[in-house]
Structure formats: structure tokens, C-alpha cells
Symmetry: C2
Subunit: 135 residues, 2 copies
């Protein structure tokens, strides 16, 4: 049983080959983003200590920071009871994980009235400048 | 654009009708579990203030704590930039979110050698006792 033993056996079948990767700031515990990993992305992350994902929209392996330089250095990895989700505690280069320039992708709160409000006062970087380098 | 405006428009199409719900302890920021929500589960959660999920294995709506009594009271809800993942900050009744009896479902760490080690010293409850009530 993957719930009981000490063997790492991520259950990639559950998510059609992809599992959610929950990325937390190592120092603060803030959830910075959620993305997806396949077996190769997980292996590359383990080997390099830098977060690799599988992009569903681009249909390819993706080193976080390959465009922006904002790589994520892995400090801790936790797996859940049924091994179909992984928490990565990381240190974020550049101070922002979100491609919008905000520190966290989760920078909007659902208010009682169902509207969204910003939880971050300002962006860490201007995405137009950061992502125009290679163009 | 769901990334820029203040309208809540969760993109359930991205995950085939289900989106990952990341559940954090409101006080400590610890990630307790990851489960899935559909539109109805999200709506019920908003209305009741108690976490509802969609169980993929049981193929039905699921009030967390319906068997164990360990309900989760919602304190804060955050959505990500592309509105395909939701963070719920909650208060956990009974002290443990995991059906194994551990506080967090993420109670095992991936070590350098690829093996898993426990991060929690002991279980909060005995699952055989908690889940045998209705049997």
C-alpha cells in the first residue's frame, strides 16, 4: 500500500500521467503556485534541485524560470497519503512566482459577495519587461 | 481575461470539470490535504462555510467530516491567476485532516536517497475507531 510504506511510488495514473505540484515558499509557507508534473519533471526536479513542470498548454517539460530567470530552488518535498499530490517547499529567485509579476499566483481573495479582491499591493516585477528578453 | 479582472470565473473545463483544492491550516499555513472540487462542491462550501469536495473514487459530492466528524471550517479562499486552482484556509475539527489519523496528508518527506520518512511523530486519532462508527 502506497499509504503505509516508505517507498516512493507516485501514482501518476490517477491524473492521466500528471499530478498537481503545490509550491510553497520555504520560509513563509505561502502557497505560491500550483502546476503539474509528470514522471520526467519530477525526476529532473530531484536531480537538479530546480522545479521542473509539465506544461499542459505547451505540452512539454518546463524549467520554471527558463524565460524569466526566476528559478525555484527546492528545499523540501512532501508526498500525500495516496501519493497523488506533491508539496514542494522552495526558495523563489526574483521574489515572484507568478508570471503576472505578483509574488504568488494566489493573489486574489474570494470575498463574501463572490467578488475577488487583491491580496498583494503591488507587483514584484513588470511581466512585459521580464518576458520580452527572448523576443 | 480571468487573470486580470475581479470576477470569479473558475475554469472547471481545464480539469475536466474538477479543480484541485489546496487546503491549508489557517493558523500555521501547513498544507493539510489536496482534493478536488466541482462547481457544486465549491458552491456548497461557499454557502455553508464547510469544505465540500467531489470524490473521484466514490463519484459523488463529499462533505469532509461526514463520517469522522472532522469538518473543516473555511476562513479564507484564494484563487490563482488563471482560476484553475483554489486555496482554502481552514480550521480543522478533531485536529487531523488525513483519514490515516495524521494531522496532514503530507506527513512523509522525500529524502535524498528517494525513500520516504515520516514528518509527524504520532497519529492524532486511530482511524479504525473514527471510521467504524457508521459500520
Amino acid at each position: 500500500m502506497s499509504e503505509q510504506d516508505n517507498d516512493l511510488k507516485l501514482d501518476f495514473n490517477k491524473g492521466g500521467g500528471l499530478l498537481p505540484a503545490i509550491v510553497q515558499d520555504y520560509a513563509t509557507g505561502e502557497v505560491l503556485m500550483v502546476a503539474y508534473i509528470n514522471g520526467e519533471a519530477f525526476q529532473r526536479t530531484l536531480e537538479t534541485g530546480k522545479m521542473h513542470y509539465y506544461s499542459r498548454s505547451r505540452d512539454r517539460l518546463w524549467l520554471k524560470g527558463e524565460s524569466s530567470g526566476n528559478v525555484q530552488s527546492v528545499k523540501d518535498i512532501l508526498v500525500d497519503c495516496d501519493q497523488d499530490a506533491v508539496v514542494f517547499k522552495i526558495e523563489q529567485a526574483g521574489g515572484a512566482a507568478c508570471h503576472t509579476g505578483y509574488r504568488s499566483c494566489f493573489h486574489r481573495r474570494v470575498e463574501q459577495n463572490g467578488e475577488l479582491s487583491l491580496t498583494e499591493k503591488e507587483k514584484v516585477f513588470d511581466p512585459d519587461k521580464v518576458y520580452s528578453k527572448g523576443k
